[in-house]
Symmetry: C2
Subunit: 418 residues, 2 copies
C-alpha cells in the first residue's frame, strides 16, 4: 500500500538544519515513511499522488509539557508569581475536575484545539482525579493525538479539595493504571513536584514506575522560591534533582519541565541520565520565573524539547511557543553582552518538532521507517513578498504568523486526523 | 442623532485602571461619545439599541510606529541584528516601492489587515517614494484608518536604489506635502534616522516642519552600534536626541521609536519636550536591540505608547504587541532581581490604546466628546471557565488569545469600517 504526497516539504533532521524540498514528494509504504524525493522515482509511475499544490508539508508539533485541566484558565491571572498563582488560580481550577461532565466538555475541546494547531504528540499532566484522567485520555485518543498522560499525585501542600492521602494517591494510581487501555495514549508517573509529595508517596511512585516500566514526568528548578522550599523540605539533598533521584525516578526519558535555574551540576545530571528538559519559555516569563539557559544546555549535550505549559503558558500553539523560545534565547544573548548565540528559527523549529518526536522513538525529521506526523499549511493569506519567497523563508515566517485556519490537514501516526 | 450600543464595555481611562461595565450602554450623540451607563437613562426610552449581546466593546488599538513597505517582509529575516538586517532585508524591500502597482496591491492588503486586527490609528513610515506614499495614504483613508504617514527622507547611507540627493529629498517632500488632501490621514515629517540624513537635509526638514506646523517622527537609541555610529557622525552632540534638537525637530508630539538605551538625561529631555516614546517590544527582542526601561520611563513621567514596528516587529496585531510589552517588562523585573514591577495586563492595554489615541487629541478611555474608536469582540470560541469569567478576565485573556475572526466590528472616527 503506497501513499504519495506532493508539496513544499520542510523538516528539521538536526538542530540547526532546516531542509526543504520545493514541490517534492513524500512516500509512505504501508503507513510508514519510505522516502523523500525531489523527483518521483519511476517505480511509482501510475501511483496516484495527493498533491497539496503550493502548500507546505511540515512536521507536526510535540508539546512536551502541558497541564490539561488548566486549559479552562488559559491566559488568565498572568499578573501573579508562581506559588501565588498556583494557590489563586491553578489549584481551584484543577479541583473542578471532580465533575466528570465538566471534564468531558473541557477535554474534548482541548483535544480538538491541540489538533487544530498541529500538535500531534504530547506529554501531559491531568489533575489528581482518576476518572477525569481517563476521560482526558479517551478524548485525546478520539481526536487522534499520541502521547503520555499522567494522573497527578499530590499528598501535601495542595489547595482546598485538591489533596489526597498518601494511601489514596497510591491506590488511585493503581486503579488508574489498571484502567488504561488506549492505543495511542499511555500512562506516565506524575508526582506534581517535590513540594506536593511526601517521601512515602515518592517511594511508592518510584516503585510503581519501575515495576510497570513507566516513564516519569515532573517539574524542576522553575523558580527561586520553589527551590528554596525544596531545600527546606529535603535538607539531605544538595540539589533539587536529587529529590527525584532518591526515589528511583531519575532515569532515561524522565521529563523535567523548566530547569530555568539548574546549575552546571544539575545540567550534567540531566544529560548523564538522558532526562528530557521540557523548556517552557512563555510560562517562564509570564510567571517571572526567569529565562532558561537553553543554548548552554544544548552546547552541553542535554536533550531539550518544548512545552506550552498551559496555563502558566498562555497558548497551545507550538508555533508561538517556538517563537517564545527564540525570544528567550535572544534575551540571554542581550544579557550576555551579545556573546551567547540565540536560537535561530531553524533551531527553534527543531526543538518544537523533532526533539519532542524523538521521545516517542521517532528518527530525525521525516525519517524513513517513521509513522507520519505532519501538517499541511496554506500560507496564501500572508502578504506577497517583493520577490518569490523561498520555502525556507515561508517556513520561518510561519513561526511568527501561524494561524489556525492555515492548517489544512493534520496527520498523526499516519492517520489523517483533520 | 443618537446611537446606543450595548455590550460588555471595557476601557482604560488611566495607566493601570481597567474599567468594565458588564452589559452596559455606550451612547453617541451626533457621532461623539456622550456617556457610558450601567443602566440606560430614561431620556433614551424609545431610542433603538444596537445590542452586541455578550460580546465585548473595547477600545480599538493605536500603532504608533510601523513601516508600511516592510509589511511585504513581515516575520522574515529574524536571525540578523539591526544594521545587517536593514541592509539585507529592509532596504532592498523598500526599494521595490518605486513600482506603484506593487505599492497599491501591498498597501491595500496592509490597510485591510490593520483594520482586521482592530487598529484604527497609526503613525507610519512609508518609503522614500512620493507616489507610493500617496498611494499608501489613499489606501489607509479608504480602509477607514486615521493617522499620520511620512514619506521617508534619506540622503546618505541608504542601500542600492534607496537614496535621494539632498535636493531631491526636499523637493519631493514639498511635492508630497502639496499633494496630501486626505480627511483622516495627515503628513508627518520623517527623517529615517540620523545616520540616513545629512545636516543640510535635517535643517531643511526642520524648517519645513515648522513652517507647515507638522509633527515629526523618527528613531532614537534603538541599538548600541547605531548609537556609536551617531556619535561618530555628530561629535558635537553628547546624546543622540540632540541630533534632532539641533534642527528644531525636538518638540511636543515628536514621535521617537524605541528609546531602548536612552539614559536618564535623554529620558528627561523626552519628558520635558513632551516627545512620545513608541515602545516596540517585539522588534527590540527580534533584532537583539535590548529591552526598553518602560517602567522607569513611566515612573519618570514620560509619554509612552506602543508600536508594532513591522517588520522589525513580526506582527501587526497590537494585542500581541501589548503581550510583548508586558513580557519585556517581566524580563526587566527578573533582571532587577524581582525589584521592578512589571506592566500589568491593564497597564499594557492602556499603552496599546489610550496612550496612543491621546496623540490624536482623544481623552481618557471612552471619553465624553471623543469620536468612537472601538472594536466589538466575540470570544465565545475560547474555553469555558470553571466559573463564569468576569469581563475583566475576558479582556485580559484577549491580550494573549486575540484572533482576527473574533473582531466582529470595528469603529474608526465613529464610522463602522468593518
Amino acid at each position: 500500500m503506497t501513499t504519495i504526497f506532493r508539496g513544499n516539504i520542510v523538516h528539521t533532521p538536526r538542530l540547526g538544519e532546516l531542509k526543504t524540498i520545493p514541490r517534492g514528494y513524500l512516500v509512505l509504504e504501508d503507513g510508514v515513511i519510505d522516502g523523500l524525493y525531489d523527483h518521483l522515482p519511476h517505480r511509482y509511475d501510475g501511483v496516484p499522488v495527493e498533491d497539496w499544490g503550493d502548500r507546505l508539508i511540515m512536521q507536526s508539533f510535540a508539546d512536551m509539557h502541558v497541564h490539561a485541566p488548566q486549559y479552562a484558565m488559559e491566559a488568565i491571572g498572568m499578573d501573579l508569581p508562581l506559588l501565588e498563582w498556583l494557590q489563586t488560580y491553578a489549584f481551584p481550577t484543577e479541583a473542578r475536575y471532580a465533575d466528570t461532565e465538566f471534564a468531558r466538555r473541557t477535554y474534548r475541546r482541548l483535544a480538538q484545539e491541540l489538533i487544530s494547531w498541529g500538535t500531534t504528540r504530547v506529554a501531559m499532566f491531568s489533575s489528581l482525579h482518576t476518572d477525569a484522567t481517563l476521560i482526558l485520555m479517551e478524548e485525546l485518543e478520539k481526536a487522534g493525538i499520541c502521547g503520555y498522560v499522567g494522573k497527578v499525585n499530590m499528598d501535601r501542600n495542595g489547595g482546598e479539595n485538591l489533596q489526597e492521602t498518601t494511601e489514596e494517591s497510591l491506590r488511585e494510581t493503581v486503579r488508574w493504571l489498571d484502567s488504561c487501555h488506549f492505543a495511542h495514549i499511555h500512562p506516565i508517573i506524575t508526582p506534581r513536584f517535590t513540594p506536593s509529595c511526601t517521601d512515602e508517596l515518592m517511594r511508592g511512585l518510584g516503585k510503581l514506575g519501575r515495576e510497570r516500566g513507566l516513564y516519569v514526568q515532573s517539574h524542576l528548578s522553575e523558580n527561586l522560591s520553589e527551590m528554596e522550599w525544596v531545600r527546606q523540605l529535603h535538607p539531605d539533598c544538595r540539589r533539587y534533582w536529587e529529590t527525584y533521584q532518591k526515589f528511583g525516578m531519575w532515569r532515561s526519558h524522565t521529563i523535567m519541565a523548566h530547569c530555568v535555574h539548574s546549575d552546571v551540576r544539575e545540567q550534567e545530571a540531566i544529560r548523564d541520565a538522558n532526562v528530557l528538559v521540557a523548556h517552557c519559555a512563555a510560562s517562564n516569563v509570564n510567571l517571572c520565573s526567569g529565562t532558561a539557559p537553553v543554548r548552554e544546555m544544548l552546547d552541553r549535550g542535554l536533550w531539550v524539547a518544548l512545552g506550552s505549559d498551559v496555563a502558566g503558558g498562555d497558548h497551545l500553539s507550538m508555533a508561538r511557543n517556538i517563537e517564545h523560545a527564540i525570544r528567550a534565547s535572544k534575551i540571554r544573548r542581550i544579557e550576555s553582552n551579545w556573546h551567547t548565540p540565540f536560537l535561530t528559527v531553524a533551531e527553534g523549529l527543531y526543538l518544537g518538532t523533532t526533539a519532542g518526536h524523538r521521545y516517542f522513538g521517532a528518527g530525525n525529521g521525516f525519517a524513513k521507517g517513521d509513522k507520519l506526523h505532519a501538517i499541511v499549511v496554506d500560507d496564501s493569506a500572508l502578504p506577497e513578498g517583493v520577490r518569490e519567497l523561498t520555502v525556507r523563508e515561508r517556513a520561518e515566517r510561519l513561526v511568527y504568523q501561524m494561524r489556525q485556519e492555515f492548517i489544512t490537514a493534520v496527520y498523526s501516526d499516519s492517520r489523517r486526523v483533520r
